[in-house]
């Protein structure tokens, strides 16, 4: 991570283990191809983030 900041000058944001994002992808896109898909509402997004452990303010679903 220190090298990333050094190379990019980008210290903001969050860094997440790949396997966490794999689990996020499975939940996020689970029904994307279904004819019954009607979007992800904020409550469902919150549940998905909580399910995979993305609970910091960075992953807040509410607007500023």
């Amino acid at each position: 991570m220190a090298r990333w900041v050094e190379l990019t000058g980008n210290a903001s944001g969050e860094t997440v283990p790949m396997m966490t994002i794999w689990e996020l992808g499975k939940a996020w896109y689970a029904d994307r191809l279904s004819p019954d898909f009607r979007g992800l509402d904020p409550a469902r997004v919150r549940r998905i983030f909580d399910q995979v452990g993305l609970t910091s303010d960075f992953w807040s679903v509410s607007s500023d």
Partner: protein, 153 residues
């Protein structure tokens, strides 16, 4: 996350666009949508704009062409994914994982790490990336601002 109310037909068009992406690795044109749904090209363009406004897909700015139907990208990116017997482009590192997560089956994720000028490959076998590596994925934009500028995000 604000979302325009879509009609059932517009949702059906969304579903068909995704099916087209899965089958052909590219999105359909407005003309193809019009032919499939028995509508005029202008009606198809209007539907695409409504789907864009509802955040169900993203149009290339200033056009009625699909740029993103997440996790798919209509334009080449540093994140090609071979899955389902085809080669797709993902919008970002997360979507590179999202394509095999969505499609199921085996896949090979390619990623170009431009900052360090390296390429990596991550096979997905039996539903799991292997090896379950210690790669990290960086997110620059907080979730609440993802939809401010999706191409940057």
């Amino acid at each position: 996350m604000a979302r325009a109310e879509l009609t059932e037909r517009e949702w059906a068009i969304r579903t068909w666009i995704y099916a087209h992406f899965v089958e052909h690795a590219v999105p359909p044109t407005s003309g193809q949508i019009a032919a499939e749904f028995g509508m005029t090209d202008e009606e198809a363009r209007q539907a695409l704009r409504r789907l864009h406004e509802a955040h169900t897909l993203l149009l290339t700015p200033g056009t009625d062409e699909v740029r993103m139907a997440n996790p798919f990208s209509a334009v080449p990116t540093p994140f090609p994914v071979v899955a389902n017997g085809r080669s797709y482009f993902a919008n970002c590192a997360w979507d590179a994982l999202g394509i095999p997560a969505m499609l199921g089956g085996d896949a090979v994720i390619h990623a170009r790490l431009e900052v360090v000028d390296e390429s990596i490959q991550i096979p997905v076998v039996d539903g799991i990336p292997r090896p379950a590596s210690d790669y990290l994925i960086h997110f620059a934009v907080p979730f609440r601002h993802w939809y401010d500028d999706q191409i940057f995000t």
